[in-house]
Point group: C2
């Protein structure tokens, strides 16, 4: 319930997150990037990929499976392809460097392809395609992740639930921003429901024994079902082949769980494509065609139960507009988790929480 939540200004939360990551040993500029990214997920309404993850990230840094000060290196393979070594640092850092490189390559070659290995969880995938949109580029962002989805026909986890993201810059109207997990719903949302003790609908997941469940906690320990059955499984497999097998990262079930395994670095793989939108026509014409597409899509007669047609990314854009005014709603549990981390690092927890809650 939103009413049980404390609404926090994005900048306040960003400062707090940044201090925490700097406190655990990250470089200041890296801490600021990660803080901005986590808060960006919250602002867009993807609370499952926002500041609620901070205790998990800190735990992984403390246990030495995430390198707080990675030496990220970029190796140019061809005029259109590079490989990034994430040096086991936070995936956000390798991810942004890689998309930046993909854009640079695309500027020259029309398309840029960048593989990433020795990375870790990179948060909300939309971050990277939004980065490309801001630079004026079309993009795809693929990643693998720890096993969360069975391969079609299997009963235990094998493929990641990791999202496929794609971005296409719009003209005067909406950009297209896709960020979709391979599961019926995002695994992070099941995790959040588990944290809150809320049930989930039947059909989203199996428990560890392969039995359908509405218990979010059991579902989080079991398998999420892929969206669209065999088709979702086939796409999730493609993500692991392209982001994992191709890049030299872990693959085929090797990526360790963020929450349950601190035995070694994850060695997550990503694959980024950046494409110039003006390859085949002037940019103005491309932008005009995007606007026309959006106009036409929105003019399609509505199905029952819909008020309007939204372009992928628009719902999150609206949440963002709202939350920039209201602030970001955080649960007491998330706040307590942050407070514990802040205090254990010997930092001051901001006053406004005390004003707004009875913690």
């Amino acid at each position: 319930m939103e009413s049980d939540k404390v609404f926090v200004a994005p900048d306040t939360l960003k400062d707090l997150a940044s201090q925490v990551f700097e406190g655990i040993g990250l470089r200041r500029e890296d801490a600021m990037i990660i803080a901005r990214d986590l808060v960006a997920a919250n602002i867009r309404g993807l609370d499952s990929h926002g500041v609620s993850r901070i205790p998990m990230y800190l735990e992984r840094i403390r246990r030495g499976v995430v390198n707080p000060q990675p030496n990220i290196t970029i190796k140019k393979i061809t005029a259109a392809v590079s490989l990034v070594d994430g040096d086991n640092g936070m995936g956000f850092l390798a991810g942004h460097r890689a998309m930046d490189e993909a854009i640079r390559l695309a500027k020259e070659s029309g398309i840029g392809l960048v593989g990433v290995h020795r990375s870790t969880h990179y948060g909300m995938a939309a971050l990277y395609v939004q980065q490309a949109i801001q630079a004026g580029y079309i993009s795809l962002a693929l990643t693998n992740s720890s096993p969360a989805v069975p391969v079609w026909g299997g009963r235990s986890t094998f493929l990641g639930a990791s999202p496929l993201a794609a971005g296409v810059p719009g003209g005067e109207k909406s950009d297209y921003v896709l960020d979709m997990a391979m599961t019926v719903i995002a695994r992070g949302k099941i995790r959040l429901a588990a944290t809150h003790g809320e049930p989930i609908p039947l059909g989203l997941a199996l428990d560890a024994e392969g039995v359908p469940t509405t218990d979010a906690k059991k579902a989080f320990e079991g398998v999420c079902l892929p969206f669209g059955g065999a088709k979702g499984s086939a796409l999730a497999m493609l993500m692991d082949l392209l982001a994992g097998v191709l890049t030299g990262a872990n693959y085929g079930g090797e990526v360790k769980s963020l929450y349950f395994d601190h035995s070694e670095p994850q060695n997550v793989g990503h694959l980024f494509f950046a494409i110039r939108p003006d390859l085949f026509m002037p940019m103005e014409e491309f932008s005009h065609r995007m606007d026309t597409f959006v106009e036409r899509a929105k003019a399609v007669p509505l199905a029952q139960g819909f008020d309007e047609i939204l372009i992928p990314g628009e719902p999150e854009e609206r949440t963002e507009q709202q939350r920039r005014v209201t602030g970001i709603p955080l649960t007491e549990e998330v706040i307590r988790g942050l407070q514990a981390e802040v205090e254990s690092l010997g930092l001051a927890f901001p006053d406004f929480y005390k004003l707004n809650t009875n913690l």
Copy 2:
């Protein structure tokens, strides 16, 4: 029912198809490519994209909306990107030329991106990713098509049902060959059920009024539902943006129906990516990793109702092995359709049909 069908040797069918296309005015080499492709779809079990489509293709050529002798041109944009103008010829021809160009670009630049405009329906999408696999390349093949799926929230068709295809060459074990329509089931399968007067399960499609239907004929005139709900719709939209808006082809509902509209050429767009698998490691290592992936996937404990785990493309590969022995099963209706075309072109219909049926 297979028992009602006539089993025809692939080569016989290929010769027949080739003669028909040559008879309608295509160049001999082009006719042979299209014949090979259509029969390849039948061999893989995708009868909806095989020789049953010949009367439709011939009709479009006769009506002047498909150019029988296109002058396909390739314009190099950068070292990694080209644009193909299909000159309104059969999409198969532009498709193969474009994937060939993508492979050539990838050989030099590591990745090749080729847009195609002024093309038409290009048949089974797996054809193009198999072409890349045979050359040893990873690939993606995107296309748009006539409206068949509503945008999420809409009740009338807007996006194509057109397939997303991807191919990754395996080592000693299976290749990965994805070819999946954006609908719950392929639109061609609904067309085939309509042709046979067979019902379809509820939940696959709406009729022209937006009402769920099990009548394949009504479904074919109505809307197929996207797979995975909003996610399938979002992917279908991405296909139209990348294959249509980006390439300069028709988009946003403009691609005319293959069956119901002969007012103008379709101006279908495609987008092909070819990627060298040895960008980030030696080819041997990549192949070994693919084999390991397949081994691991197949070792996942089975869910109820499954005998084994199959890699995308394996079911079709098995059908191919079987049909290369048994021949391709054709219905009387398909045979009659072919016979009518053959005779109207003044060609001889092969004797074997008369031996095997009571036509």
